[in-house]
Amino acid sequence: MMAMTGAILESVLSAALAADPAGGMAGAEHAASQSSGGALMALIPLLPLFGAVLVGVLACFNEKSKMPAYVTVGLLAASFVLTLITYLGWDGHSVMQIRLWDWIGLSWGDGVGQSLDAGFAFYLDGLSLLWMLFVTGLATLIGLYASEYMEHDVGLGYCRFFGAFCLFVFSMSCLVMGDNLLMLFLGWEGVGLCSYLLIGYYYKKKSAVDAGMKAFIVNRIGDLGLLIGTLLTFTTFGSLEFTQLFSTIEAGHSAAGVPLGDTWQVWAIPLLFMAGAFGKSAQLFFYVWLPDAMEGPTPVSALIHAATMVTAGVYLVARMMPLFVADTHLIALTVVTWGGAITAFWAATIAMAQYDIKRIMGYSTISQLGYMFAGLGVLATTGGVYHVFTHAFFKATLFLSCGAVMHGFAGQLDLRKLSGLWKVPGFKIVSIAMLIGCLNLAGFPFTAGFFSKDMIIAEAFVTPDSMIPGSSWAGWLMLLTAGLTAYYTFRVFFRVFVGPTEFYPGDDHHGDDDHGDEDHASTFHPHGPGWAMNFVLIALAGGSVLAAGLYFMGDHHGWAGGMVHASSAQFDPAQIGGHAGGSSAEQADIEHGTVFGFDPHKAMYYISAVVGFIGIGAAWWLHLAGRTQAATSRMESVAAKFGPIPSWAEHKWYVDEFYDFLIVTPLRLISNLFFWFDRLVIDGIVELFGGTPKMGSETIGNATQTGVLHDYALRMIAGTAAVLVVVVLVLY
């Protein structure tokens, strides 16, 4: 172990010394220059990897304590501190790179595009720094929360959980910090694997295993897009390394010297990347896996399926922004805008009718991711990225609050069976954290969620329809969705946390296992979260509040704008047809869309606040005012007026059933067909070749192998006699 650690450290240090400080991004408008990051930077992903190994070793020794959690939290905290140090030591505009070793180096000629060089190398600019800050930070906090949340599984399950947890953070770091598209792909598949492992954590539960497979398979479809996109990128631009790739794109022609505008790849590659991003981030046709992923333990839902992994798609689009804007028609960005806006609306309508609070949060994640994509689509990169950041905090808060409820009420998640938890001893902090999270998600004025969401919606109106067709309509759709979001968010809060106190425990402990609980049905006592969970809730709720302050920092639309400005996601709006671009303040007044003649940036503060208030008011009227019990509210009588629509929404618009009919059933039929073809025809031929000699030998063998000594002797004599006869008669 020590020898291995030493070897890793040595390679990191030597790589840091050998890192090439030269070779700036030629012609890059935003003048990002390369510099060698410190060796510390390489330790950011390697510490979690080391943690995964260490937890694996603990598992080998059948560790029965909370040691795996301490190892994980300790190493992730170290990783976060390193990220922070790297960020503080960063000059604010350059790209930090470090190459640990040559990973894939192929060469089959001297020409352009005839060699593939992908190092195991890391690349940090504003965008990846922003991501790494919240990934490592939230992973540390959520790891701490999980140390308590998962305590009923101490032993191998605990090791398995934290091993996959560490491995996830490593993969996510590779994805975000990768220096080339292959590193990104490595991380991309790695997070997918860890997501699969952790969704199926309760592997004895069929629904959890199915959910894991669904997530993996749906992701696979998107991943194909990413893979083909990566291959096309290589064949078109002759490199997979970001620095080279972006300078080639900047130069405006492919590796073969063809102007980008004349190639079909210029729109095909972004569309393929978009497919990958939509798969990972559960958008449009791919969203179905994410609600089911809530089968995993709640810390996993909070970290992987809300805060970090699902934003990988947003990261991919933001990272490849130069490629997306290289297409003068902005085809891919238009699809991204509309895909995001429609998904946001669609998921919100489903969330309105669900009763499982964790699933509601799952759908709201899909919806919020839709906002982020729409933000990227309407060229509001800053808004999209800022929303990723704020959403990571408040959605983690929301999930962990739901997790605390689940933990304390024996897995109960049905909002009709929980009410007034505010007054239950031990749930004060949870309730306050939940309130802060809900206010953020609902876009209550002066919360972080309010600012980040407004940036996106306002930019949708700012960006002219001539650039992104129907972008203002997408804006209206997102505004409507904001109202729905406020409604379903506060529906949860008003039903579960306030109102008359009434609760029924769930039928299992912590949603999973059987540790022989005896007393819950009759004398159930909800147990409030312990210090670790409360501390994390306070920290995350505090983070959500403080994230609002970032809006007022820096020159480029807040701190997030500054980070985006110092990355490849920054682009010159003048380059895309001379139109106004979102993330550049000085360009914004070239051609500026309006809302009823007002500047959208300012008007949106008021409009979205009003929309949010309407949503919250509706939730209050329907779910809190005059409610005397947990099970029903005024909503029941109101919903009845809508006919079957609420029931359809509760059944998720029957999308899963539709997919079953359209894809799963035909696939099953075909696979059955192939199965029987294989069983009968292919296996039949093989069996024939094997079976014939077997049959023959059995027939002969059964007749001759009698086991009687004299039979053998007789046959031996007969054989010898026959040989003799042949020798004597034939040969002489």
Partner: protein, 121 residues
Amino acid sequence: MIDLISGTFSLAQAGYPEAMAASTLNQYLFVSAAMFALGLIGFMTRRNLILMFLCTELMFQAAGLSMIAFGRYHMNFDGQTFVIFVLTIAAAEAAMALALVVLLFRKRESLDADLWAELKG
């Protein structure tokens, strides 16, 4: 004297000046064949393991006899050499075979060879 390496060593140098007549050889061979046939028939007809074993010994000695006869006929030691080896091996093999027979007897309390047919199939 005795030249073992060149292989020219023969019975003639050891005090047997004349080769055996062909008719004499035939008589020896006839006795040998009769012994072998007796052994073979005994082996095939008997079910008693010890008797079957004795019959195999009989066949051994029949072969040995013919080899010595041939050796005398060809005026060399080859036949005798062979027979000495065969006798040595046969002694060792007899010890083992009889031990096996004893073990088999302990298992079934019988010497009937037909009781052992586990190799069937």
